[in-house]
């Protein structure tokens, strides 16, 4: 579990480079809240705090949630989301190993539905922002909710947001993409960081290949198909792969063992479902990114997938 956290470091570094020190602060807030929630829940369920608290699963949930938040979101956003993830998505389902839904994604979905405004104020990449927020400024912004300068000076849409809303205003995809190119290159760097960490996880055999491979394959195929049909409306494969939480989802979220299918074959189906739903949600619904909802929907199908993919036991006919 702690190795999973270590593998998030490259992506976090890229994020800090492009968007300032918001992310680490969010991770700390989310972690504290998660640990507190975990302790309270363990105490309420009369279970020993150690070893459950020390296994790091709450910290991983918190870190993944923090990655999905805007770096300058007010502190109570991360705290609420993280507590909800631990209390509702994890412990009310029976604790570690029994939760149906990915806790981090459940927390994120809740935040998206309850605090849409805070959840869409994404930071502008430092290189283009007219004002650069230092560590203290970032801290004040997160804890008071008021930035030292106007929000407009430091926030901008994510590439996915830009495409999503840009297309509605009648701009062509190419114009939108050109407008958001800096933000996109920032997100490419973050994605590379995630990719590095993900390959590390694969190399250390902490995660297995089926979920990420099938999820990315599903994204590539479905996005490629849409792009081929109508290149003016649907962005290309590379854009899908490098923007939003695609890679984070593939390597860190769809691979969460608890909430994915049990067998390799089941994980292939699970990953494919997540990939497909992500592209569907991005292309046709009110939400710019679809990872969270795609994962949550596929979580619902895990029991079904598990039933249908029981491996053939040695010596038994099909």
């Amino acid at each position: 579990m702690l190795l999973v956290l270590a593998m998030l470091v490259p992506a976090a570094a890229a994020d800090v480079f492009w968007f300032g020190p918001g992310l680490p602060i969010q991770i700390v807030i989310a972690s504290l809240s998660a640990l507190l929630a975990e302790s309270v829940m363990l105490a309420l369920r009369r279970e020993p705090l150690q070893p459950s608290l020390g296994d790091g699963s709450a910290l991983v949930t918190a870190a993944l949630l923090a990655f999905a938040l805007p770096p300058l979101a007010p502190w109570w956003v991360a705290a609420c989301g993280s507590a909800f993830a631990i209390v509702f998505a994890k412990h009310l389902f029976g604790g570690l190993g029994r939760n149906l839904f990915n806790p981090a994604m459940a927390g994120f979905a809740l935040l998206l539905l309850t605090f849409p405004a805070e959840m869409s104020r994404w930071s502008m990449p430092i290189v283009v922002a007219s004002h650069h927020l230092g560590f203290t400024d970032t801290l004040t912004t997160i804890f008071t909710g008021v930035p030292p300068v106007a929000w407009d000076a430091i926030s901008s849409a994510t590439p996915l947001d830009a495409v999503h809303s840009g297309l509605k205003t009648g701009a062509t995809l190419q114009e939108v993409l050109a407008r958001t190119s800096t933000a996109h290159s920032a997100s490419i760097w973050s994605s590379l960081g995630i990719l590095l960490g993900g390959l590390g996880l694969l190399g250390l055999r902490i995660i297995r290949w089926p979920s990420p491979v099938s999820m990315l394959a599903a994204v590539v195929v479905s996005a490629g198909l849409l792009n081929a049909i109508d290149p003016g409306t649907y962005p290309g494969v590379l854009f899908h792969l490098t923007s939003g939480a695609t890679l984070l989802g593939a390597f860190f979220i769809a691979c969460d063992p608890v909430t994915t299918a049990a067998s390799h074959r089941g994980r292939l189906w699970f990953g494919a479902g997540v990939g497909l739903l992500t592209v569907v949600i991005r292309s046709w619904t009110a939400y710019p990114d679809g990872i969270a909802f795609a994962v949550l929907i596929m979580n619902l199908f895990v029991p079904l997938i598990d039933r249908l993919t029981v491996p053939r036991i040695y010596g038994h006919a099909r």
Binding site: S57, G97, R98, R208, P257, A262, R267, V310, Y314, G315
Partner: protein, 486 residues
């Protein structure tokens, strides 16, 4: 010991740095102890019946116990001397004390005059040789102790094409098959040829693990010297449980033995290398199974080695032969690091199934942390050689859901311990599965008994009802007709 999931075609685990290998000198004969205890226990929990009396003088190779219902093969005296007791004693791997014949060794090793070799086995019929093998008390020496003559007996519906001589000792630490192949390959091949003659198979594959180069070289040389085109050597990758009969067949021939079936159903008979050598001794000298190779290993013993040991030798004597315990001995284990059983004390005696004794220290044992909840990581399923879903089995075992256990194939679990060894949550999977399987057996018997009792109760109730009705009817008939109007 370090455990990783085996990669490649086969399911299983790789075990690195487990109990140290015993010294690579030729296996020498352990001295015969002053007193031996031959356990009459059979693997299924029943026991053999003694045919000697207390005080009787027995000779080396004389039958001392047999199985009236042919569940097991006869047991022979492994020394000459006087039977001093027939009593209940602890036996390796048994939960209850089992009868044993205690013999005071007179040190003369006087042979039973009835032991005669077979001059030319090719002139004898399969039936005769099988009867010899049965009378020679030969059982599978790989650990299962299944009577060899039953395994070799011809079944017309399933002809045997291939004989597999299993030299894959996949459990780390055990080295008796390795030693046997290194130093007695010729004898093993002779035994294999006898078995080929019996089963009428066209080829014989001697399977050896890749990490035993000396054994491979010695066996290859012996095969060349034998000049028998039916014999060949196959090299099996090093992983656990490559030596499991079903896993070995899957690796060698790409076919799976059907569930509930036997290797015969796919035209294969598997025999351990030690069994082959024991058959060679029997045919060449007439001597039945009275000794076997035992590996004594682990950091808890001074000079680990593989010894030729008489059946019935107390483990304490064996340990002394190897220089005694070292101070940091923590546990005595019979069998390998994965499938072995911990022993309560060292007054237990070597039996036909005892291939290895590990005097383990803390460094030999895999440390076990507290069990955490299952995180459904699937590592166990990836390691399971039976292609089961241990995480599901575990869930149903905890919930005591017999139907669920059966659905996920608890009866197909070979209790190899791979799942247990790789589980990051340190769940005690094998022991839970073993207990669940035994409980399931008990429950099945109970259910049968209950169903029977229910049927009999219903029949009883019905019969009483019929009898009652009959009585009423008769009572009515006996009444005078006129009284009806009153």
């Amino acid at each position: 010991m370090e455990v990783t999931i085996a990669t490649g075609r086969q399911r299983g685990v790789r075990l690195i740095g487990a109990a140290q290998r015993s010294a690579a000198s030729a296996p020498s004969a352990a001295s015969a102890p002053p007193q031996l205890a031959l356990s009459l226990a059979l693997p299924d929990g029943s026991s053999l019946v003694p045919v000697v009396r207390i005080g009787e003088y027995v000779r080396l190779g004389q039958v001392v116990a047999w199985s009236p219902d042919c569940e097991g093969t006869p047991l022979h005296a492994s020394v000459s001397g006087q039977v001093s007791a027939i009593e209940l004693r602890d036996a390796i791997g048994m939960s209850a004390r089992m009868p044993a014949i205690v013999i005071d060794n007179d040190g003369r090793d006087e042979r039973d005059p009835g032991l005669i070799p077979v001059a030319d086995y090719t002139l004898r019929s399969a039936e005769e040789l099988l009867a010899r093998i049965e009378a020679g008390g030969i059982v599978g020496l790989g650990g299962a102790a299944f009577p060899t003559h039953l395994k070799l007996a011809p079944t017309p519906s399933t002809p045997v094409e291939t004989l597999v001589i299993n030299g894959v000792e996949c459990e780390p630490g055990i080295q008796c098959d390795d030693m046997l192949m290194r130093y007695r390959a010729e004898s093993m091949l002779f035994g294999a040829q006898v078995m080929l003659h019996i089963v009428g198979a066209g080829r014989c594959v001697i399977a050896i693990e890749a990490d035993k180069p000396e054994a491979i070289a010695a066996t290859r040389t012996a095969v060349k010297a034998a000049g028998d085109a039916r014999l060949s050597v196959a090299i099996v990758p090093t992983y656990y449980p490559a030596g499991g009969e079903r896993q070995l067949i899957e690796f060698l021939f790409g076919t799976q033995v059907p569930a509930g079936g036997l290797p015969r159903d796919v035209g294969v008979v598997c025999q351990n290398v030690g069994t082959a050598a024991a058959i060679a001794t029997l045919i060449r000298t007439g001597e039945p199974l009275v000794s076997r190779l035992v590996t004594v290993t682990g950091l808890g013993v001074a000079f680990p080695r593989t010894l030729e040991v008489r059946l019935g030798t107390p483990l304490s004597h064996l340990i002394e032969e190897c220089g005694g315990y070292t101070p940091d001995i923590t546990r005595l284990i019979a069998g390998g690091m994965m499938m072995g059983v911990a022993l309560p004390h060292d007054a237990l005696a070597v039996a036909k199934t005892t291939h290895c004794v590990i005097a383990a220290t803390a460094a030999d044992l895999v440390p076990r942390g507290p069990a955490m909840p299952c995180i459904r990581c699937g590592d166990c399923a990836e390691a399971c050689p039976s292609h089961l879903l241990p995480q599901e089995l575990y869930r149903h075992a905890v919930e005591e859901d017999d139907a669920g256990l059966a659905r996920f194939g608890i009866t197909d679990c070979i209790e190899c311990g791979c799942c247990d060894a790789v589980c990051p949550s340190q769940l005690p999977l094998v022991s839970v599965f073993g207990a669940a399987r035994r409980q399931l057996q008990v429950n099945t018997v109970t259910t049968e008994r209950r169903d029977l009792a229910r049927q009999r109760f219903n029949a009883h109730t019905q019969r009483l009802a019929v009898e009652q009705a009959e009585r009423q009817r008769r009572l009515k008939e006996r009444r005078p007709a006129g009284r009806k109007d009153e």
